[in-house]
Structure formats: structure tokens, C-alpha cells
């Protein structure tokens, strides 16, 4: 009983950090520009698929593959932001249809390169052969999940330092609080937003590789990625509190695992959805 509980806690904390990474970009776009980016899920998977091709098919070092994938995603994200999103961010319906159209466009173009099917990054991020799992005090820990959790935690800690301690983070928080006031006080809004977009693209690309490593997914599976991101983004709300992403991610993974254990495994997905509805109704109610 206790070992089972401990097992759930360990796997939830490993998974929670990944959920945090997946939600980071969506949360930032929501709080910074007040837009609902429906292309967030496909962007994460695109980063993952690019790196997957480099790592698993061409066979380059996983970290290098991840970096090249991130670079490509950064260029794409900046191009999309500069040419379209910054101009339409004020119009919710247009942003919605645009980002949805973008998700379909990327999925369609992606399926020309990657035929339908689930892709999983099997190579270890260290570049060495590692055992699939190991046991500590009776708790089995999957090595790929541990790798995923370590990279996610490093990235979350780095994000926390960047947002809380650096000058860039201060200006970013100022923009989230009140962009007009920040602009009056001399903040270069365009530059800060662009830097945030670049950073989000980096996080998304890494998140994509980690997601494919942890679960594996087809390119059409972007809706479930988006759902996970929604669940956390609405919990964090505004102003963005990115350090809480890990805690909320852990909580979501824990709820999923417990429901999966107690009831039906398929209903664990329902937990995330019900959680989002509850948070939205309690936290965002306007009347």
C-alpha cells in the first residue's frame, strides 16, 4: 500500500515538471498578449518531431538535435509573431481562427514529411545507452522519465530565475501587469515580447522532445497536448507565476494517477478536464 502510494508520488513528480514545461508557453501568451494560442500544442509537437528526425533518423547527438529543433522553431515563431499575431492580438475571434488555421496548416504540412503514426524519442539525452529502469527502495523509476524530469526541472528553475531575478524578467512582469504603463516608463514592448516569444519557442522545442520521450505522440495528437497546457495555464492564471507551474503540474499528474488507479484509467483524462472547468468557474467568474 505504502510502496504503491510512494510510487504514485514519484511518478507524479516526474510527470509534473513535464506538464509545467508544456504549459509555460501558453500561459505566457495568455498573460502577456491576452490571446488564446490554439497552435501551442502543434508547435510543441513540431519542435519534438524536428528533433526526432534529427536524433532517431539522422542519428546526431540528442542535445544537438534538440538545439537545432529549437532554432527552427524560434525562427518560425518569430516570423509568425511579426507578420501576423502582433497585428491581430486585439481581435479574439481572428486570433482564434488564425491560430487554429495555423495548427491545421502545420499538421497538414507536417503529415507530408512524417506519415501518420506515433513517434517516440528512444535515444537517451546523454547520448549513452542507459538501462530502461532501475529500482530504489522498492520503487521502480523509469530512466527516460527521470531524464525528462531532470531536464524539465532545470528549465523550470532557469525560467524562474529569469523571470524573478533578471532585468528581462522584471520588464516582462511589468508588461504582464500593465503594458501601457510599462511602455510609458520606457520599456521597449516590441523587443521584450519578441524575446519572450524566442524563449517560449526554445521551451516548446525542448518540451516537444521531452513529450515524445515520455509518451510518444502522432502529429495529430496536438489537441491532447493543448488540453494539458490549458489545464495548467488556467490554474496559474494571471499574473504569471511560473514557479507554480511545477507544483500545479505535479498536482494534475497526481490527480490523474490516483483516478487512474482507483477507477478506470481512461477516466484520468476526465480529471484534467473537470479540473479546468472548476478552476475557470471559481477563479475567472465575472458575475
Amino acid at each position: 500500500m505504502w510502496s504503491q502510494l510512494l510510487q504514485i508520488l514519484v511518478s507524479s513528480s516526474l510527470l509534473g515538471s513535464l506538464y509545467g514545461i508544456v504549459a509555460l508557453g501558453l500561459s505566457l501568451a495568455w498573460t502577456l498578449m491576452d490571446i488564446l494560442d490554439l497552435s501551442h500544442g502543434i508547435r510543441i509537437l513540431l519542435g519534438g518531431f524536428l528533433a526526432y528526425s534529427l536524433i532517431e533518423i539522422i542519428g546526431i547527438h540528442p542535445l544537438l538535435g534538440m538545439a537545432i529543433g529549437a532554432l527552427a522553431l524560434m525562427m518560425l515563431s518569430v516570423a509568425i509573431h511579426v507578420t501576423a499575431i502582433q497585428k491581430i492580438a486585439k481581435f479574439p475571434l481572428v486570433t482564434l481562427t488564425f491560430t487554429l488555421g495555423l495548427a491545421y496548416l502545420i499538421e497538414g504540412l507536417g503529415s507530408l514529411i512524417w506519415p501518420p503514426g506515433t513517434r517516440t524519442v528512444r535515444a537517451s539525452l546523454t547520448g549513452y545507452e542507459l538501462p530502461p529502469s532501475f529500482t530504489i527502495a522498492g520503487i521502480s523509476i523509469s530512466t527516460p522519465m527521470l531524464e525528462v524530469a531532470i531536464v524539465s526541472c532545470v528549465l523550470l528553475i532557469f525560467t524562474h530565475i529569469l523571470i524573478r531575478k533578471c532585468r528581462f524578467g522584471r520588464t516582462l512582469r511589468a508588461l504582464i501587469e500593465d503594458s501601457e504603463q510599462a511602455s510609458v516608463m520606457g520599456v521597449n514592448v516590441f523587443r521584450v515580447v519578441l524575446l519572450a516569444i524566442i524563449y517560449v519557442a526554445l521551451v516548446n522545442a525542448v518540451g516537444g522532445v521531452l513529450y515524445l520521450k515520455a509518451f510518444g505522440a502522432p502529429l495529430g495528437g496536438w489537441v491532447s497536448v493543448l488540453m494539458k497546457a490549458f489545464s495548467l495555464a488556467v490554474f496559474i492564471g494571471r499574473p504569471a507565476n511560473f514557479s507554480a507551474l511545477f507544483i500545479v503540474g505535479f498536482f494534475l499528474a497526481l490527480v490523474e494517477n490516483v483516478i487512474g488507479l482507483l477507477m478506470m484509467a481512461a477516466l484520468s483524462e476526465l480529471a484534467a478536464v473537470v479540473l479546468v472547468i472548476l478552476i475557470l468557474v471559481v477563479k475567472y467568474r465575472e458575475i
Binding site: 481562427t97 488555421g101 504540412l109
Partner: protein, 322 residues
């Protein structure tokens, strides 16, 4: 003055276009030897029009962006199938679907009206997802394998054809009433500026509940027509997000809050989708993506130019008439 003329012309066009179109539909099966393909296309046309209207009434008259129309579509489809399989007359089952759908919509609408903007959009989508997951795990309704309507109990195709046209006419009359009555004008006021409308004494929450429930009843009706036509429902297609995308595209093509718009934009959309599927196969998603991107951009940034063009055209037509 010119605007008034334009509104008059618009109202007369609505009548000129709609009823003769319906009369042609009613007469067509008698004029053709093999009408099975016609029946399929016309029934599909009617459910796309009503579905688009169900999205349209919420966005056009409250300013909200609903992303969860598939909830009531799927519910209507399952409900109709279930009622038919339990021995209830198929036509009665179809007529009951919107009423039971609207009963389900009342508590959901009461929750949803507490939200605005993006949180409303996400929450409406999440409700649909929750229902999809629940229906996916209901073995009594076939789970992921889906649920079939018993062939012997199904609605005859010709009856379905006439029923769907009649239901479209009824729905259209309701919509016409809403659009040209006090409710419609109040709705447009709410969608333009909710706070101002509230301060002028409009009961905004009650109004939103009415629109959401009405929209849900239309979507449930469409689900019932779909189940009666296809005779099979499964959670992924019945609660699929694609239904909301279809209704969003058709409504935006026809104009938000515009009653006649979906009647004209639906055949364009159906033709485009058919051609795309034929030409590109599974890659038609690329064109849908481009279409969605362009649709939003053109609608927002060229709308004023389009309205100016239409007003100028209406002015010229009136001059010619004189």
C-alpha cells in the same frame, strides 16, 4: 437614409431567397428518378445550416465565442439513436432531441454565463471534452466502438428529407423572429457593449442563458438529424471539434448574427470541402488551415470595405428600380 434602404433590401432578399429555395427542395424528389444522392446532400445541407445558426446566435447576439457546440450535437445524436432503439417512433425521437438537449443546456449555460472572453471559449470546449470522455467510457452506448441505430426502426429517408427541411423552416422562422424582434436588437447591443447594455437595464445574464439554450436545442436537433441519416454514432466523431470548426467557418462566411448568411455560405463550404477531399485526400487539412487563417484576417480587416461596397451596391440597385 441609405442604411435604412439597405436594411429593407436585406429583409426582402431574405424572404425572396428562402421560401422559393425551400419550395424547390420540397418538389425535387418528385422530379428525379433516383433521388438518394439528392436526399443525402439536402439533409447534409440542412444540418450544416442549422448547426451554423446555432453557433451564430451565440456569437452574433452575445459576442461570446462558443467552442463547445459539439457537446449538444453529440448528445442529440446519441439521444435520438437511443430513443429510436428503445422503440420510440423515429420522427418523435428526432423532434424530442432539441427539447431534451435544451434541458441539459440550462445548468451548463448557468455555469458558462459566469465567464467571458477566452475563459468562456475554453470552458465551453472543456464541457464538450468532458462529455466525449464520459461517452467514450459508457459500455451501454458502445464506448469507443460506437452505437448503431437499428435499421428496421430507422426513419425512412424520404421522411427524413422532408422532416429536415421542415425543421430548417421552423428554425429559420424562429431565427427570423429573434433577429427582427426586440430580443435581436438587444442581443446586438449586448454583443457591441455588454456593460453599456447592462447599465441601460437589459438583463444580460438571463439573455445569455436564453441564447445558449436556444443554440443548444438547435445543435441537438442537428445531432438527431445526423444520427438519423448516418445511423451510427461514436464519441470521436459525434463530439468532434470539427463540428465547431464547420459551424465557425460557415457562420463567418455568412456573417455573424446574419440569418440568411449560412443558407448561402453552406453550399459554398460543402462544395469546397468535397472538392478538397477529392483533390487532396487526407492533405485537405492544409487548405482548411489556409482558409481559416485568411477568413479571420479578411473578415476583420476588410469588413468595413465589404460593407461600404454592399451599401454602394444597394444604393445603385434602388436607383435602378426608381
Amino acid at each position: 437614409m441609405r442604411d435604412v434602404k439597405f436594411v429593407r433590401l436585406f429583409l426582402s432578399t431574405r424572404i425572396i431567397l428562402f421560401f422559393p429555395l425551400m419550395l424547390v427542395f420540397l418538389a425535387l424528389p418528385f422530379l428525379m428518378e433516383d433521388s438518394s444522392l439528392l436526399i443525402y446532400y439536402v439533409v447534409t445541407y440542412t444540418y450544416y445550416v442549422i448547426l451554423a445558426q446555432s453557433w451564430n446566435v451565440v456569437h452574433g447576439y452575445t459576442g461570446l465565442i462558443p467552442l463547445g457546440n459539439q457537446l449538444f450535437f453529440g448528445f442529440g445524436a446519441y439521444l435520438t439513436s437511443l430513443l429510436i432503439n428503445n422503440g420510440l417512433n423515429a420522427a418523435v425521437s428526432l423532434i424530442l432531441a432539441p427539447f431534451i438537449g435544451s434541458l441539459l443546456a440550462v445548468p451548463i449555460a448557468r455555469i458558462l454565463i459566469r465567464l467571458k472572453g477566452l475563459s468562456f471559449a475554453i470552458c465551453s470546449w472543456m464541457f464538450a471534452e468532458a462529455f466525449r470522455i464520459v461517452f467514450l467510457n459508457l459500455p451501454q452506448l458502445g464506448g469507443s466502438q460506437g452505437y448503431s441505430v437499428k435499421y428496421a426502426l430507422r426513419l425512412d429517408t424520404l421522411t427524413l428529407y422532408y422532416m429536415s427541411i421542415m425543421l430548417l423552416i421552423v428554425a429559420h422562422i424562429f431565427l427570423h423572429f429573434i433577429s427582427s424582434s426586440r430580443i435581436g436588437f438587444e442581443g446586438r447591443a449586448i454583443s457591441q457593449n455588454e456593460i453599456l447594455a447592462f447599465s441601460l437595464g437589459l438583463n444580460v445574464p438571463q439573455y445569455k442563458i436564453f441564447m445558449l439554450v436556444f443554440s443548444a436545442s438547435l445543435a441537438s436537433l442537428v445531432g438527431g438529424i445526423y444520427a438519423s441519416l448516418v445511423l451510427f454514432v461514436e464519441p470521436y466523431s459525434a463530439f468532434g471539434f470539427s463540428w465547431t470548426i464547420d459551424s465557425l467557418i460557415i457562420s463567418m462566411l455568412g456573417g455573424a448574427g446574419n440569418v440568411i448568411g449560412p443558407l448561402l455560405s453552406t453550399p459554398i463550404y460543402m462544395f469546397l470541402m468535397d472538392q478538397l477531399r477529392y483533390a487532396f485526400g487526407e492533405y485537405n487539412i492544409i487548405i482548411i488551415g489556409i482558409f481559416l487563417i485568411l477568413l479571420g484576417l479578411i473578415r476583420e480587416f476588410r469588413r468595413e470595405k465589404i460593407i461600404k461596397f454592399l451599401t454602394a451596391m444597394s444604393g445603385r440597385i434602388s436607383t435602378l428600380r426608381k
